[in-house]
Symmetry: C2
Subunit: 393 residues, 2 copies
């Protein structure tokens, strides 16, 4: 709402279309049917129209073929849209696959290598039918040492939470407030997996999975697919594109135990620095945030990494309501991973789609009034890859 963005800041690559399935515990469609739905439907969302033949780059984001039983999906997308002349491939960077795809498309478009990119993210996590089996597949994104001891991600995030709470005095109630806020937000989002408010008491009474994290501190297993269209000449396709103003991708050690500060998400801090520097905006300029709340502790630490709060003070933001839908810095108005859902390969693409809708005033009941600048943070594993994107009108 402040800091109008000048021409020439960041890149001229913009989002010009977005389409998402509802996120669900179990989709009635097979993975390839979900892919087909979003890949073909996204073209209908482009204001001035775009023909599939205008796409010269296809990037598919998917976490594991152990979920959806489908690989080599780029030519599949090409055949579904009827354009075999585009160049296509799939990328994977754990839960950050979707924004890694956006980063690559941005790089390849802004360098003039390609003109228009179709990005398709999907995951069908219900295909395995068992959460124990799903957990083993998820753990393949941790360090080999963490995988070997069988530590599930909730336990790795519990290490982060334990250290954070011990050091800074945050409580289990503070974590619960993140879940309560995001569930409340999701009730306004027809795409969200959960459409049900919860209370702090509900969270605190839910069973511990790995102390201090409980069932209701955790994002669910989800099915879902999202497609977005990016262009290096966005105004050919719409009068109201959403530009990628700044972007950063950074890595950290794969294992939580390998890091100097176990209570931090350093890759996110560095990626945000890069994205802010490139866009020339500061955290307080951002009107709407979509961040990677795979577990509630993650969102609180991210407040600090993204510069919304000083180190050790992130939890105060949620206590004060500053990150609620009507607060000064709305975070996860979509419901976040916690309540909107977390179909891994779709998640980051879905965050970009959500901010695209917010900045165009198309977010319906969950619209953040007058939003002009948005930020996406999407990370993989316990933060060994983080992508931060600043989007602006």
């Amino acid at each position: 709402m402040n800091s109008p963005i000048g021409a020439g800041m960041g890149s001229e690559v913009g989002v010009v279309g977005a389409y998402s399935t509802k996120y669900e515990a179990r989709s009635q469609k097979e993975a390839h049917e979900m892919i087909r739905e979003v890949a073909t439907s996204v073209f209908k969302t482009v204001d001035k129209g775009m023909s599939p033949e205008e796409v010269d780059l296809i990037i598919v984001s998917n976490y594991s073929d152990s979920f959806g039983y489908v690989l080599h999906t780029a030519p599949l997308v090409a055949s579904y849209i009827g354009n075999l002349r585009a160049t296509g491939f799939r990328v994977e960077n754990a839960c950050a696959a979707g924004t890694t795809a956006v980063f690559l498309a941005w790089k390849l478009l802004s360098s003039g290598s390609f003109r228009n990119a179709l990005i398709v993210g999907f995951e069908k996590m219900s295909a395995q039918g068992s959460s124990a089996r799903a957990n083993e597949i998820l753990m393949r994104a941790a360090s080999p040492e963490e995988y070997r001891v069988g530590a599930p991600f909730v336990s790795l995030y519990a290490l982060i939470a334990q250290e954070y709470m011990r050091r800074y005095g945050a409580t289990e109630e503070d974590l619960a407030l993140v879940a309560v806020k995001n569930h409340e937000n999701a009730t306004r989002n027809p795409l969200a997996q959960f459409q049900k408010k919860i209370t702090v008491e509900d969270v605190l009474k839910s069973p511990y999975i790995s102390k201090p994290l409980k069932l209701l501190d955790s994002s669910p297993l989800s099915d879902g697919a999202v497609a977005v269209l990016l262009s290096s000449e966005p105004r050919r396709y719409t009068d109201t594109p959403v530009y990628i103003r700044g972007i950063g991708i950074r890595h950290d050690y794969p294992g939580v135990y390998q890091r100097a500060d176990m209570a931090s998400l350093e890759a996110a801090r560095l990626a945000a620095q890069d994205a802010y520097k490139m866009s020339g905006v500061s955290p307080k300029d951002i009107d709407v945030f979509e961040v990677h709340d795979a577990f509630t502790i993650s969102e609180i630490v991210l407040y600090e990494m993204l510069g919304l709060a000083a180190r050790g003070e992130g939890y105060k933001l949620v206590r004060e309501g500053a990150t609620s839908f009507s607060g000064a810095h709305p975070v996860n108005p979509s419901g976040g991973l916690k309540a909107k859902g977390h179909p891994i390969g779709a998640t980051g693409v879905g965050m970009v789609a959500e901010v695209y809708w917010q900045l165009r005033g198309e977010a319906g009941a969950r619209q953040v009034s007058g939003a002009e600048l948005g930020l996406v943070e999407n990370h993989g594993g316990t933060g060994a890859t983080s992508v931060v994107i600043v989007l602006g009108r």
Copy 2:
């Protein structure tokens, strides 16, 4: 040996280092240990030395996490080489993952987006322990319709072979000659999985898997890993770089049954056209070929797609010995997928490494004398993605 390459032809991106494990039926190492070995060892192969800190791009090529049980491998590689500042991700395009990684690195380096790329390809196919289980994982790269009916790749290539043989008069003996040639070649390659000559009679007596393709017409399941280093300033790192002179990546319909000509590999033909056009060379200029002989029929069809033979006459080349080690157009002096092995995510990276060694005169007993121009063809599925790369000194 003819057509010396002028400066400025193609790009200035070059390969400056390469390292490969032996391809084996069963590696003693886990997937992450194979990754670590090649990612760290490749730096020792650079003539003038390269520090891991000089790498700003890491691309991992891997087919399926159902084989190696490891994902999010880019930050793993970053941690192994001690450089968390590089940008990393994994790509997958079925069996063409490795050369898709090379294509992306070339694009990102030649556009000035990055300077030095480390590409790591790996697959540990023995991890599943069962060839029936492995087959289901492989079929995820076919079309959803082919996957649904459970047609293994050998049956899909059998369709190609049946149609090709019916139309052009090639025989099962012709197919066998490809296997015999590539096994003979592999006896000179210490990196090859099979080190054993076979005869036409051996092939013809081996059991049909899907008629006309027999056990000895088929490439094996393999474990292996390869790393290469690419640079946009290759002469900083070696006085004898191997340049990417031309490159093409093309797609076709995922399903064999969807194609107008079932006996063709159209994506390979188009990718070769692109690579020849960019490099300004013609097929007869190429001194050494490494091509995707997942099944023997594939190599014969590729002779035609790559322009070594007219349509319907590819099989005559192998009859005449033109593509043997001492022939006019040596194809797969490494032993090819058939005898060197086919650890999927490593395969395409390994082809580029092999041509790098050939063009530097470092291929030992399998050295093609005086090779100055080489070509790699690597495809995924039954050819829904094909990458062709012309490399030159």
